[in-house]
Structure formats: structure tokens, C-alpha cells
Amino acid sequence: MSKAPDVILLVDDDAAVRNALKFSLEMEGFSVRLYPTPEDLLAEHDLPTAGCLVIDYRMPEIDGLELVERLRRRGVTLPVLLISGRVTRSLRDRAFGLGITDVLEKPLSDLAGSIRRVLDDGP
């Protein structure tokens, strides 16, 4: 049986960042779904079983880490890449504590490469 296609679910509150990442990832051959807020992703009923989550850390209401915590509690096991304008050691530690695969600092010159690595070592 062939694998379900890999879908990238991207959550970022900045519209320009969201659209630019979608553009560059689609040019790399990925299928991308965008969510402007964590609530939008949490309201999504039809989460894919294969693929990867790309989540911005700094968002106004619920931050990226809290979003990941909530998703894990719901049993969502998709691998997560956390992206942030600023990556500190304590952010990294907390992210790895939640089982996040990697933490990437903007401006993200090779997000597609990181995603491919995640999907290749996938379960």
C-alpha cells in the first residue's frame, strides 16, 4: 500500500511569514496547510496521519509550546519543528522536553531541508 502523502501543517501568526513559507515549501514539492492561530489548528478535525507540524513559538494567546502540549494530550504524534525569531538554550530545553524534534531560528533559509530530515527518520 502506498503511503499517505506528506502534509506540512504550518502555524504562524504573521501572514507574510506564513505565505512565504507556503510558497517556498510548495516549490519544493510539499503540500502545505496554513493556520493563522493555534485555535485554528486545534479546531481542525481532519489531521493527517503522515507529515509534519511547523509551529511558531511566539504567538499572542497560546504560545507554540503550549500548543504542542495540547496536541500531545489529544494524542497527536506528528513530528514537530518549532520555529522562532529567537532560540535560547532554555527554549530548546523546554521544546525537547515536550518531544519536539528540532528548534529552528528564523529567517529559515532551509526549512525544506529540515523537514526532509524529519520525514526521513520518521517512524
Binding site: D14, A16, V17, N19, A20, L21, F23, S24, L25, E26, M27, E28, R58, P60, E61, G85, R86, T88, S90, L91, D93, R94, K106, P107, L108, S109, L111, A112
Partner: protein, 384 residues
């Protein structure tokens, strides 16, 4: 000596003491070895708001807020037993409490006096809110904390700037990256030139990213230095700084410190900045108005090796327009505010592995909470 001459000598000595107590410019309190007040100088009466008559015979803990109040008898007891000096002959900054319940930072020096086999202690007190603050330690604290807070404010601004600029840079470099892929599939006489231009633009976007990163590294040089610190001491020092001027606003300050929340792993100056920022905000909001003005600072030992600190006020509460983004930089309702205080608090607390949040209790006012990691109780010997 005859009995009458002894009595006369005693009377003369007492008269001399009285005249000293009336004229010494310092506030002076004499207590016996049970901690009972024996006499008060005129300046001390004025400072604490008690008449000598009503204070004499009562325990000196009357003149201090919790938790010192509860601990004072034990301090005297320990000194009499072990001779270990913590304050006698040394002098330090402590918090005093007036009859009306308000508290203030004061410099206390204690001397010891023996008559026969009885001990008396004399306390010399300088009110640090009243006079020009000349106390070395206070100055030192102040310069450390204000210097560092300027540094932290700069760091906070640089990091906000970095964050804000990184957003459009992310968009730019990813649009360019996608365009490059697209151009790889295209043909035509200008495509080659376009590819080259796009690649060069992408390089420049990355260069801008590098500059931002370097700016941030530059301000992050003052990396935090975490040590085992006494939380009550951090709070004492921070309130000494923050409460200067609180008296004019008639603010009652209470401390409720959990003895189980003692040692924490912290960068002393950074955590003092957090405390000072929170206390300053509380004082600022309460000096705007309100009949009850009460600042309450409390600690508690929580689960998971965490301690929690709360700073609660009875001010007007959070303005709805700032409530949602309180911890973001440059959010302020104050004419002279920079809106950096709370974002600095968040940066520092999170770098310590803690959390900071706010509550608006139904009765009004605002409560800020933050957590710190407790340190195991095997501190290397510290000063007494």
C-alpha cells in the same frame, strides 16, 4: 557607698540617659535580653509613631513586620546562647514597621551593653526613606540593579528588534528561495540573469539575519550567573530598593514568607530586577488612588522543587487594552513608561526555567506570580 548615694548616682545616670535619648539625632531603641523595649529616643518615637510610654515594656518585634517579627526572639536567644553575631556591631538594612502598619527600609546598628549579668541591646536606626540615602549597601544595590536594568532593557529592545526584523526577513528569504526553484524550471534569454539576481538578493537577506544575530549576541554577553541564593534575602534587598518613596503614598507593605521556600537557584541581580519591576508597578498603580493601599509579597514552596513568589496589590487592576499582551515589550499605559518592565520580567523568569503569570482577583487589584527552581539545602558557608 551609702544607699542614698547609690540612689542618687542611679538617678543622675538615668537623667543623663533621658537627656541623651531626647537629644540624639538618631532613632535609638534600648531593649532587654527578653526583647522588651526599655526606652525610646524622641526621634524613635517620631519615626515609629509610638509614645515611649506605650512602647516601653512591649516586645521590640512591635517595630518590625512579619516575618522578622516572629523570628526576633529566636535571634536574641541564639545570640545569647552561641554568641554568634549576625547584626551586633555589623549593621544592616532591615524593614521597620510604624504604628500605622506602614513599613520602611532602615539601617540598623545594634550595640550591646552589660550591667552586672544582664544584657541590654541598643539599636541605632536610620530611616532610609527620610534622609538622603547614603548607605553604602543601598547605593551598591541600586547601582548594580539600575546598571543591569539598563543593560537588560537594551537587551530586551535588541531582542525585540531582532524578532520583529526576523519576520520580514523570513518572508523575503523564503519568497526568494521559492522563486529560485521556479526559475530553475524556466527558460529564456533573461532567466540566467534573473537567477543570478535572485541568488544575490537571498544572500543579502541572510546577511541581514547575521547582523541581527551579532547585535543580539553583543547584548547577551552579560550572561546570567546562577547561584544558590536565599529567597528571603533577595526579597529583602529588592524591597529596600523598590519601597523607597512608598511611604509618601501611604502604602502598607506586608511580607508573608514561607520558611520552606528558602534557597533558590538564581542570578541575584536579575531576580532582584524582576521583584523591583513588579513592586514598582504595584506602587505606581496604587499611588494613583484607592482607599486601601496594600502591597503583599508572599512566597510558597510548591511541588516539583519549585517555589512561587507573588506580588499582590490593591490598585485599579489591569487596563483591558493591555491585559492580553502584558508581557510584550513596549506595551504601556503610562505617560513615562517604556513598557519594558514586564517583558524583562518574562525574559528573566523564563531564562531561569520558571513561569510568570498574572491574576485579577474578583475583589480588585492585581496579583503577579512567578516561579523559581528551589535549590537543594547544601549551601556552602555564606556570610551570617
Amino acid at each position: 557607698m551609702s544607699e542614698t548615694s547609690i540612689a542618687l548616682a542611679l538617678e543622675a545616670a538615668e537623667a543623663r540617659l533621658r537627656s541623651i535619648l531626647q537629644t540624639v539625632p538618631d532613632a535609638m531603641v534600648i531593649i532587654d535580653e527578653q526583647g522588651r523595649i526599655e526606652s525610646l529616643s524622641t526621634t524613635a518615637e517620631r519615626l515609629f509613631g509610638y509614645e515611649a510610654d506605650e512602647a516601653c515594656g512591649r516586645n521590640v518585634s512591635l517595630l518590625m513586620p512579619s516575618p522578622y517579627r516572629e523570628q526576633h526572639d529566636a535571634y536574641i536567644g541564639r545570640y545569647l546562647e552561641t554568641g554568634e553575631r549576625r547584626i551586633i556591631g555589623i549593621g544592616r538594612i532591615v524593614v521597620g514597621q510604624r504604628k500605622d502598619g506602614t513599613t520602611f527600609p532602615m539601617h540598623l546598628t545594634v550595640g550591646e551593653l552589660r550591667t552586672g549579668d544582664r544584657h541590654h541591646f541598643t539599636g541605632f536606626i536610620r530611616d532610609l526613606t527620610d534622609q538622603q540615602i547614603t548607605e553604602d549597601r543601598l547605593k551598591e544595590l541600586q547601582s548594580e540593579v539600575t546598571h543591569m536594568s539598563r543593560f537588560t532593557a537594551l537587551g530586551e529592545m535588541a531582542s525585540t528588534l531582532a524578532h520583529e526584523i526576523n519576520q520580514p526577513l523570513t518572508a523575503i528569504s523564503n519568497y526568494l528561495k521559492g522563486s529560485r526553484r521556479l526559475l530553475e524550471r524556466m527558460e529564456g534569454e533573461n532567466v540566467e540573469m534573473l537567477r543570478d539576481a535572485v541568488a544575490k538578493a537571498a544572500d543579502q537577506a541572510l546577511r541581514a539575519g547575521q547582523i541581527i544575530r551579532r547585535l543580539r549576541e553583543f547584548v547577551a554577553r552579560g550572561e546570567s550567573e546562577r547561584r544558590i541564593e536565599s529567597l528571603p534575602k533577595l526579597i529583602e534587598d529588592a524591597s529596600t530598593l523598590a519601597l523607597v518613596g512608598a511611604r509618601e503614598h501611604g502604602i502598607l507593605v506586608t511580607f508573608r514568607l514561607d520558611p520552606a521556600a528558602d534557597l533558590v537557584l538564581a542570578d541575584r541581580i536579575q531576580i532582584q530586577q524582576v521583584l523591583v519591576n513588579l513592586m514598582r508597578n504595584a506602587i505606581e498603580v496604587m499611588s494613583e488612588g484607592g482607599a486601601v493601599r496594600r502591597l503583599d509579597i508572599a512566597t510558597s514552596a510548591g511541588p516539583d522543587e519549585q517555589v512561587e513568589v507573588t506580588v499582590a496589590d490593591t490598585g485599579a487592576g489591569l487596563a483591558p487594552e493591555v491585559a492580553k499582551q502584558l508581557f510584550q515589550p513596549f506595551v504601556t499605559t503610562k505617560r513615562k513608561g517604556m513598557g519594558l518592565g514586564l517583558s524583562i520580567c518574562r525574559t528573566i523568569v523564563e531564562a531561569h526555567g520558571g513561569k510568570i503569570w498574572v491574576d485579577s482577583p474578583p475583589g480588585g487589584g492585581t496579583i503577579f506570580h512567578f516561579t523559581l527552581r528551589a535549590a537543594a539545602d547544601d549551601r556552602e558557608t555564606d556570610d551570617a
